[in-house]
């Protein structure tokens, strides 16, 4: 490496490190302060907990005074079911739209791409009305349906791009082999889409897990609250229980991190083993 290259490399890394700190900093702050007593949170928010300031009071309160485990499982159910449906239907729709030419296929693709451009929240009132008349308000099903609708357009868009990269010869070979179309999709195409599916899965679950808006307007009873909504009960108009808020938030971060780590491994494995020629 020449000096010039080294200087550039250091420069690039400085920018990246700065960005990482900016991105990770708040999360670190939340996690760190969730283990401190209230006075230390305000007294010295930037120092890690030490012997005198360490406390699990936030976590205790969260477990004692709220149904955090229920919220947790609600969030997990909604997120995972939505993700599974988005991936399944997204991949199938992407396959159909790229592989088959049928009457209205272009119009359908266009219609779906509109979903990327128009934010689903614009339809909140209509969605609420629809769920009410369908008798689905205050159910997890309502949330799943909304999130599937929200995630599908982007996932179809991304997966279509990936499907187009799969050599056409593979499908033709499978057809000559007598493999039925559904099996071609599930046993030839889908395994090759693994890296794309991991990407789409990450894109899909993060906004769903973090969403506050739809749980707020579509669920009302405690039994259907998700984690993000459950945290709100510690945020009062006059008093905010910061210990509990930070503890609950720290716990809410965890599953997303775990899922991301699992999927990113999948992503890398898929990228290195997908060679076709």
């Amino acid at each position: 490496m020449t000096r010039d290259q080294r200087a550039r490399s250091i420069g690039v890394h400085l920018v990246l490190i700065a960005y990482s700190l900016l991105a990770v900093g708040p999360i670190l702050l939340v996690v760190m302060n969730s283990f401190k007593v209230r006075s230390a949170i305000f007294g010295s928010p930037l120092t890690p907990p030490d012997a005198s300031t360490f406390s699990l009071i936030g976590y205790e309160k969260v477990f004692r005074s709220s149904h955090i485990l229920l919220y947790y499982s609600n969030s997990l159910i909604v997120t995972l079911v939505s993700m599974a449906l988005v991936l399944l239907f997204g991949a199938m729709a992407a396959w159909a739209l790229t592989e088959y030419r049928f009457r209205g296929s272009t119009a359908l693709a266009l219609f779906l791409s509109i979903g990327i451009m128009v934010p689903i929240r614009l339809g909140s009132v209509a969605i609420l009305n629809m769920m009410r008349s369908a008798g689905l308000n205050d159910t997890l099903t309502a949330l799943v349906l909304v999130y599937v609708a929200q995630g599908l357009p982007m996932s179809i868009f991304i997966l279509s791009e990936f499907i187009q990269q799969i050599p056409k010869d593979l499908r033709d070979a499978a057809r000559c082999d007598g493999v039925p179309e559904t099996r071609i999709f599930f046993e030839v195409v889908a395994p090759l889409l693994r890296p794309a599916i991991a990407t789409v899965a990450v894109f899909t679950i993060v906004p769903i897990w973090n969403d506050l808006w739809f749980p707020l307007i579509l669920t009302s009873s405690d039994s259907t609250h998700t984690v993000t909504l459950g945290v709100q009960q510690f945020l009062g108009q006059y008093i905010t229980d910061w210990n509990s808020v930070l503890a609950a938030l720290s716990m809410a971060i965890l599953p997303v991190v775990v899922i991301y780590v699992i999927l990113s491994r999948q992503l890398i494995a898929g990228l290195t083993s997908g060679a076709v020629k």
């Binding site: 057809r175 000559c176 060679a275």
Partner: protein, 362 residues
Amino acid sequence: MANLSIEHLNKRYGATTVLNDVNLSIEDGEFVVLVGPSGCGKSTLLRMIAGLDGASGGDIHIAGKLVNTLAPAERGIAMVFQSYALYPHMNVRKNMTFGLKFTGVPPTERERRVTEAARMLRLEELLERYPRDLSGGQRQRVAIGRAIVREPEVFLFDEPLSNLDAALRVSTRVEIANLHRLLKSTIVYVTHDQVEAMTLADRIVVMNKGCIEQVGKPLDLYYEPANLFVAGFIGSPAMNFFEAEVEGIEGGRARVTGAAFRTLDISAASLKVGDRLTVGVRPEHLVRGEAGAFTAEGIVELVERLGEASFAYLRRVDGKMFVAEVRGRQTPAPGETVTLVAASPDVHVFDASGLRVATETR
């Protein structure tokens, strides 16, 4: 094993015609090579035989059965693709048996066929490997194996050697020829490489712009090309063409003159005075000499040495170029004027519409 017949086959994409009234009949056990420049429709024709592309008109019969509306798997064909098209996430064994699961072949029979094909293609050691761990030649053998285990009526090959390097191409070519001898199956093979076509084919089908130009045995195409296109396409370097005109006819013999060669005397019943002709001579049929049935002069501009022969590129009197093969160590030097002659059976004459004129030169 089966014969294959194609009648009045057409393929159009919108306004463009890809195949225009193709008729072809292939015998049981015959090795037929479709050859032509890119975009001539040969791959489309193969894909239509396979059932991967639909026809705009016409019929395809395989083993006497009309297959127009049948799915690829129901036609009794197996196809080998240029890109091998192996399933990347399955090992060699699975690649070969994957399709058999869906066509009702029992597991023991699948196993027997894979063992048999692996033995034939020397793949025994590779059965548990994945395509990414195989070389190009091995992958192509797996692709052929996958076709063999289907025990098809007709094998379809779509430029199977194009992705291999030169040495491997020669050895795989020999393997395919051996395979045909062993299996005695009907094979339709698409290539743009005329060496493959000449070496492998029982019969060659030369295609151009969606039409069949000529069908014939390899050497028949070489020695008696039916038209200018086939004459120019078969043979490497390509045949030299000289513009010519019938100057006079005396006693059933035509005197043919042209700017770039000495007057030629051919027998021709169908010719008239003033007819415009094209005279063709292959580079390998030109030898140095003083006077022959066909005689042309040129100034050497460039010599390509290949070893057993060299190609001399010569500038003719009319300013155009032609090529002559020179054998041996003594090659003409650039700038030298050389006289080249060809014997009468090696002179091809084509009429103004490009069709071969049945003629005998003296």
